[in-house]
Assembly symmetry: C2
Homo-oligomer: 533 residues x 2
């Protein structure tokens, strides 16, 4: 810290200089507790940058995992889990299949809930195994980390941070809905902030506000359902009772993976930084295979199609409907698909096991993007200015899709109910109706028009927390108040009590005076009357 005394000021000279001075000044040790799955991908980008700046990084990884692979940028610390790799693979496969299962309007939420639980329950098993593995815990205790960098969607990282007495930086997508608001004590008015799964905008009609109000209570139930068992293992492990509020309240900074071009404006807190679009990297040269496809596409260009890393196969009848629709457009379609090729695949459609999604979207010849509206994909479409056909499947995807559709940058299709014709029409609409391209380009320009890149911002705040050992000056006082105090109900009750007491005394006094004055007269009158009688 003392370096500052001798430093000239860099205000105005360039903040990045200032930043890199700090970065080079000291190497710190960071513990990372990630969430397996696509959310890990952009967290990894931040870790790579931190590693390049000389910090030592240890990533806690369950020995059975999906995407948490080895890298030169960090050391993996593996911990044992209670199930084999096959179990993980089976669950993810079942998850993908269930997304396309027939469901009635009524049991939609129920099917979604149990499908998501398939995966989430496994993360709980991981947490339980980790906390019960003395070797890993001893290693963590001895390693003297400066901070924890974690995805707070589930509270395992926070239990570790509490045990190790280190502060955290949260890297969060904003789903489960409202978690960041509840846990950071940010006001979250139900009248202007749409709740998850409603697909409302911030400008709601009266009836939308009624639904939003009710959904708000379901959220609370969902939190209870997901997190209560973590509190049980936390109590066992920490040897004391903790609350979610006390666990999350120890975190210093929320790095939130959205921005306000995509998300609707809402109250925030000073310890939040917005890094939406962090996954949108500079365009790199396409691999030869894809370069060839794009070059061969002629004036019509290409359409990029991917349903994300969680879905690689879809039922054959659905695949054939999609293949039929793709054959009706003049563009070349690059479709990431690892299942059995549909027999009616048209000549313009190329199936690939993997595609360089961001680089393809950034190519000037890309005309449209068919996506499941995952947060990464949607931001890549937004950032690169590509109109979208959105086929949301689960989680936040319907809300993401609505945010794009409501801004005229895409068309939503229900993948379970759509016909081949619907898809064909949607594609032709977003490609040929110029307003879609204009809208997404306007949004893209706004999204990129910011004073500092999201990656630099994320790296800055992680380093800030490491070098300052937290950010207590940004901690809201609301963390120390209960619900009654926060809403000043105790103050109101106190003032009401005073007012009532004063009124009561005043009434008593008046009554007394009244009796004294008029009571005497009354008596006198009565006395006079009786005398006169």
């Amino acid at each position: 810290m003392k370096a500052h005394i001798f430093l000239p000021f860099y205000w105005g000279v360039g903040s990045l200089f200032f930043l890199s001075f700090w970065g080079m000044a000291e190497s710190e040790k960071l513990l990372v507790f990630p969430q397996d799955g696509s959310h890990w991908l952009s967290m990894r980008d931040v870790i790579e940058e931190l590693s390049k700046k000389g910090h030592e990084i240890v990533v806690l990884v369950p020995e059975v995992n999906l995407l948490l692979k080895e890298s030169k940028f960090y050391k993996r610390k593996l911990y044992p889990v209670s199930y084999p790799q096959a179990e993980l693979d089976n669950r993810f496969e079942a998850f993908g299949h269930n997304l396309f299962a027939e469901r009635s309007f009524l049991n939609k939420a129920w099917v979604e809930y149990w499908n998501v639980r398939l995966i989430i329950d496994m993360f709980f098993l991981n947490c339980d195994s980790l906390l019960k593995d003395p070797e890993t815990i001893r290693y963590l205790e001895e390693s003297q980390f400066d901070a924890l960098f974690t995805d707070p969607a589930l509270p395992c990282g926070m239990i570790l941070a509490e045990h190790l007495s280190i502060t955290s930086v949260y890297f969060f997508r904003g789903f489960p809905c409202a978690l960041e608001h509840t846990m950071s004590r940010t006001p979250n008015p139900v009248s202007t902030i749409p709740r998850c799964y409603t697909a409302f905008s911030h400008q709601m009609t009266f009836y939308q506000r009624v639904i939003n109000f009710l959904v708000n209570y379901l959220e609370t139930l969902l939190f209870k359902d997901l997190y209560t068992k973590y509190l049980d293992i936390a109590a066992d492990f920490l040897k004391k009772e903790v609350t979610l509020s006390s666990l999350y309240g120890q975190g210093s900074i929320w790095l939130l993976r959205y921005d306000f071009v995509f998300e609707y404006p809402r109250p925030i807190m000073p310890n939040m930084a917005f890094i939406g679009g962090i996954n949108c990297k500079p365009r790199e040269r396409l691999p030869q295979e894809f370069e060839a496809y794009v070059n061969a596409s002629g004036e019509h260009g290409v359409v990029v199609f991917s349903l994300g890393s969680m879905v690689s196969e879809i039922p054959m009848t659905k695949a054939m409907e999609i293949a039929e629709a793709l054959g009706t457009i003049p563009q070349t379609v690059l479709w990431r698909y690892t299942g059995k090729p549909p027999s009616n695949l048209a000549k313009n459609t190329k199936l690939v096991k993997w595609l360089p999604q961001n680089d393809l979207l950034a190519h000037p010849k890309t005309r449209a993007f068919i996506t499941h509206a995952g947060s990464h994909g949607t931001y890549e479409g937004l950032c690169n200015g590509v109109p979208m056909v959105l086929m949301p499947l689960f989680g936040d995807q319907m809300d993401n899709a609505k945010r794009m559709e409501s801004r005229g940058a895409g068309v939503i299709l229900n993948v379970l109910e759509m016909t081949s014709d619907d898809l064909s029409k949607a594609l032709k609409t977003v490609i040929n109706d110029k307003s879609y391209k204009e809208n997404i380009m306007r949004l893209s320009a706004l999204h990129k028009d910011r004073p500092i890149s999201p990656l630099d911002l994320a790296v800055f705040w992680v380093e800030f927390v490491m070098r300052n050992k937290g950010a207590p000056h940004l901690r809201a006082a609301a963390h120390d108040l209960n619900w009654i105090q926060y809403h000043s109900l105790d103050v109101i009750a106190f003032l009401l009590a005073i007012v009532l007491t004063v009124v009561l005394i005043a009434v008593k006094c008046l009554k007394f005076c009244f009796q004294k004055c008029f009571g005497k007269k009354e008596k006198a009158k009565k006395a006079t009357k009786s005398k006169s009688h």
Copy 2:
């Protein structure tokens, strides 16, 4: 905007490059409506930067003014006012004198209120004159500005913006208290956000929360008192009724001249940017006179003393008390003072008509800063890491002072009541007790540890608003809801009505069924009874 399509991304390469690309891309025309007085000083810094980047800037200036002087960086557009220069000078002189007038505990607020009104009433006269000057208004109408840059402490700029149909960037200190929260529709919980003049921190005791709760209502009265007459002239000028909410709600960005090292954490909105310390410039070489003083000060160094631009003279008895105290320390004291020198001035005390405050505070030989705790001075002390003796005089100064004192970075003195001995002790404490220096250095390091300098950030947002013609994507939906809707009271009433109706119908049904079932039995019973008799 279209430039983006052909641009490679600069994420990761450096945001300032991106920024300067935009800056150079197009020159825009900015109207500035400032507030005369010290608040203008840091606004001017932003304007100079914008001018250097090629934007055309017109500053609206009353022909009688204090600090709004000519400059090569902007064009001044003078408008006539209804009073002479002497009136302005007299009022400011009276203002300064009144600060040192004797006051009882009870009439403290009253004296403060009327003293501030001395100045504020003149600003109202300015506004009235401006709106009634057809020549200036015609000039503004014809000038086709891209945006307005204004201090929103008083709403004259907003009336102009409404008339010219342009959007605004607000440059605001945060005083009058809560204005930015009320007008931007930011939740402002009275339980965790101390109100002006209370000098509370965000962690309040129960009784502090009671007082804060009550002061909150006084604020509303103050707003009404200050602003209602602006609404009257606005209605005359705009030929329609407007509300403060509709006027302020048209603004795009709030540039707030505080940060969260100084201020307590609180809910904010995405259209707020925090530029506290923007006045803290890189240290420049001291003028020869001051260089000589500092060099001659020896190992003890210097103390800088200024009560700000609004106070240049103080009553002689007070000045002599102060002079006596200053003589008791081994440091050289540089005192900005334009009044008659006190006869007991010690050898170590140098009176100067002006001093390069920031450059002196930035000098390693400066040991302490005696200040009135104005926002500029306090930030210069904070930024340069100089312990302070704080003598708040009016407005936000008591609150500023408390923020420094509560963090162990300064000592507060009541300038009206303090003795010579008090000042001497306070000075010795902040200079010799190392904790003050350590605390202010820690705060200073935190304050400067940010991803982008406040000046760059301010310039970025003004340019953002000019090039995008506003920032409607950051406008809170709360602006379109009334109080009842915002707090969901209509939704709650609706749901209660449904519940009550359902309960009522259920009760009626049950009653009906009960009567049908038991009524018959009763009849049957009665019939049987009567038969048996």
